[in-house]
Symmetry: D2
Subunit: 357 residues, 4 copies
């Protein structure tokens, strides 16, 4: 349900308008001293209110760590962190239980939980719940870094605009590190500019746009993962679909592989000095569920933000009749940029979990 | 690892050239009398050797049921089934441990399991292991049918050829039932013909092609699934990536949602008599991880068969040098048609598991 | 690790001297309005400082609920609760990492977590972590009560003093309710008096005593539980050994069954009106891992408090030599009375989890 | 349900009178060459028909290995083994669904599974299902031996007769090895003789007796196990209650700890050369759920065989009235001696699972 992982378990709690959100991270190695400044910087990448493309909601997302650290080091006990909710405009959501917002979880949550479902701000389905995921992910990212593993993502697509794609077989760590420093992480700054224009155009149009995030993990040893249902793909997909608005997960060349021939898609093995490598990496670093030592490449499709300012059609669940709905409040015209660190966080947590197993 | 499900657990075992393959299905409701004829017919859809597009390997896949049935009815004990391996050409595979086949699990398996890995026929990574999955899935499909749920898939794409797509919001049960009767399940017979031509062209070219399978589940009640990591998407993706050669999983409009605007992608709720429905179903029947009562739509990208007759490049792991490799033996030029019942089986098992929880 | 349950998951966090302890309870049915007054009363039964037999540590254990409730009712989101730690005397524990206290987890924790282990007050192994378990258990107890199920425990033994045992086959709900109202829950008040004398004698002797808790669950439907590894015994034992100081778990007649003959131990079925019952209940309400509808009876052996004021022998892990150790601080001469509500809580959580599955 | 373990998973299937019983062992390290002769010898210790105290049912329990081995070595794929059922007297059990045998799972199974439950020979609840557990356990025992770990059990009690107890802190490997060679494993041969007399007396009396098995694991490293719900006790208890007829599980001094004072029960740490040891081992080798490096000691209470030849009282579930029942067929007057290798098997599987994690 709200718990991710086997050996490294993250349990997320909270609702958008509850007193707090937070998480419990169980299974971190003892003796790890997280760099809190970098943790905050990572979480800030997800935080809203800082850019043209994100909601104005002001979050003061300072996590309070309640347990698991002694003098700044993990002690073996679970690390619990709490983020208080402060800037809540609950009145914006009144009546929504009767008139579910299209493509939100309102309707299915009311079916599942009945009238007690917390619809304010999307309740437990709110994108705000990704803040504790980023807290946990930031810890995982630092631990991976200590093991020589870098996780970073770029915005591969926004609406009709595509970023340039790196060579999956030979992407360099420096390329990923450059990505991590950009407020809008793309390889092609020109594509990035056009993406931001597409977002702005949607916003001005009281609309929203979707996109694709592509996440890399560099430095993973070969041999991680299990066959069949325990593979890297199974585990990563199960985790990444936990991010709100994710509609698809694919690896390497992904759905484009469907249009290819074997002679084109197969990755010929080659020697890279003493190391086995491959000429191409359509596989995205995973064969038979097990890492090959090549860069891990996972693509994540994100739908356009469901909350748009345009008038929409829905039903009144009590009167059982159609009505017109206008959603008020503050909403991102595109969730993709803020979802980038979330994708990195979830990838890092899953990869670290598999490494610790 | 080799076990799928929570309440309904399927454990798969075997290797391509072991004495047998099989599965244990634990958690089936007691008192269920499987229709063995229909079970055989379902398994035959996956079996090779029957069509132009599949390998000539002759499988006599008659599962022997070892436990779990009393006078043809489930008794509460796990149902164990064994399929003997008979038609094995082990000599075709000698030496492959040193020269891993591109885009197969040979290399990663050797890294993980060392020299003891059973490389004959792909060992435990062989597509043959999907036969017991189909056995288990056939049971699940019959149980779902008793609950008014139909699961069926079509071949949505082969290489560059696309099948017509039905209306995700209003696809009829009769359309799915028609699909289930076709040896090559497509909505457009014309597209199907061109798909088969593409497969045949690849075969003549000593090559292979990939494709996309789209699976539907009709009749699912609203309210199934859990938020965050327990959603229908998480569970289905984790299961479907267990099918060999799957490279991507998406729901409803999937990756195409990335190119859309919210006003276009959002599914307006409408009343369908007394029932809440939606004008479109880009969501594929799942909102916030929970079923909406609309048809479940999941897309599965399948890579081109890795085993091709064309000469390929790989490395000799002992000599650490490049070599040319020609793969002998019998291989499907396209795995997609035979993967269709496997996708239905895995979808059915996952959906039934979530219903039983 | 620190998570209990399948469908109803409780994740516990904190250390004795961390800023806080707490828990996340995931999977509670939506729409449940916990009675907070009764919840507090239940938690007070575990709290220290109120009786002659417990430590003087003053805990102000008011849990703050951070999420999961809307207007006092569960909304489907996890319920997270935090209890601040205030009354900490950390100086009492300095140096203990080098000189592990006999029969505490100090030594094994240092082996497992290294020098980063939080030894203050027993860290994450502290009995204080049972406070959030009681919070979660109190919710479960109220939900069970709504289903007509009563869980209550008595102190069956303290050192050499034994309480009278009720008839396991016919114990009445009123007997259990009477138990729940007693500050020192025994059936025989005379035995209770002698037990308290034994505790007091141990305290005056700078020593401690152990005991046995026997917990009942009345009103459970027949048919709950799974065979083999999913039985009620398996699940309850796995949970109850999570309570610090528990050394044994048995059901019904328990270890005494080893000394009996079948003709004596077998429980003859009898009709109780229209209901199937049994003349005796040596089985403790479970046959083959599945509830029989008779009262569930589980016995829990609790060792004497490891912290005693008497001088003890231990080793200096650095110098690798024997030393004499005197443990300062406040400690219960007998943990059993305060462990009674914890046993009830863990039993209730496990039983409710199995009912929800 | 019928699956044990996390990293090393054993799935058991079959019923007493199904075509076969068996198991799937997933997660064994690759490259392990099991000694099949020793495996058979181990399984023979559990097999019936060989001693005065066991049923005459003749089992020819030769497991057929269907997968997971290549040239006698594990290859990473699950090891599946099947044991055919041959010597079945199904007619002995007719009508038992209406007249549940006291202290058997008949009644609870009928409640859970309805009329489809396989009552022949106890169905899936039959002690016969421990044969595949012994198969899996024999593999685990050999793997543990390679790691310097010895697991062996003695019969600590039969009815009123007690074996002598070794010193838990200093029991020697040679003592355990001697135990493993005895057909009736006790430390005191005199006690063993009186135990056998007690069993024979019960048999002549058309009755049965229970007992206690005490299992040791020697050579376990310190630091294995997790706190709270992931402890060695939790894991072992959850596993051991999967053995039919087990009514209690305790560690070290177990329930007797309840009668002791802290000064008596606490185990003073001492140096044993450079190694930390303890003067006594009342804890049974586990502190806070984590191994201390001292011998692991677990006690298992086994009830008297429920099937006795004496006439008993039960009910007719259809007529809802009391009746007299005489159970025919062949039954052990005491299950304890044959349960000894089962206890060793389950202990070994659990300990190896925790080591592999």
């Amino acid at each position: 349900m709200n718990t991710l992982g086997n050996k490294l378990k993250v349990t997320v709690f909270g609702q958008s308008h509850a007193p707090a959100i937070g998480c419990v991270v169980d299974g971190l190695p003892a003796g790890f001293a997280p760099d809190m400044e970098r943790l905050s910087a990572f979480m800030a990448r997800r935080a809203p209110g800082q850019n043209a493309w994100s909601t104005n909601r002001k979050e003061n997302d300072i996590p309070e760590i309640l347990s698991g650290l002694v003098e700044g080091r993990t002690c073996g006990a679970p690390v619990a962190a709490v983020i208080r909710n402060s800037d809540q405009h609950s009145r914006d959501y009144s009546g929504l239980q009767r008139t579910p917002r299209p493509s939100h979880a309102d309707y299915t949550a009311v079916i599942k939980y009945g009238g007690n479902y917390d619809i304010r701000g999307g309740g437990q389905f709110s994108g705000r719940l990704t803040a504790p995921l980023c807290f946990a992910g930031a810890l995982a990212l630092q631990l991976l870094e200590q093991r020589g593993i870098t996780v970073a993502a770029h915005i591969a697509q926004i609406e009709g605009v595509f970023d340039s794609a790196p060579d999956f077989a030979s992407i360099a760590r420096t390329e990923l590190e450059a990505l991590l420093k950009k407020p809008f992480p793309v390889f092609s700054d020109d594509a990035g500019m056009r993406m931001r224009q597409a977002i702005e155009a949607a916003r001005l149009d009281a609309d929203s746009v979707g996109g694709v995030i592509r996440c890399f993990a560099l430095g993973l040893p070969a041999g991680i993962g299990e066959p069949m249902f325990g593979g890297v793909e199974n585990r990563l997909a199960a985790a990444l679909f936990g991010i709100p608005a994710v509609r698809g997960v694919s690896f390497g060349t992904g759905f484009a592989a469907a249009g290819m021939r074997g002679s084109e898609h197969n990755d010929p093995f080659v020697m890279d000095g003493d190391r086995v490598s491959a000429r191409t990496n359509h596989a995205g670093g995973v064969l038979g569920g097990i890492t090959s030592g090549l860069p891990l490449v996972v693509n994540i499709a994100v739908k356009p933000t469901a909350s748009i300012a345009k008038e929409q059609e829905t039903v009144d669940l009590e009167k059982k009749e159609s009505i017109r709905l206008v959603i008020h409040g503050r909403h991102d015209p595109c969730i993709v940029p803020r979802a980038v660190p979330v994708a990195e966080a979830v990838t890092a947590l899953t990869v670290l979990d598999m490494l610790l197993e």
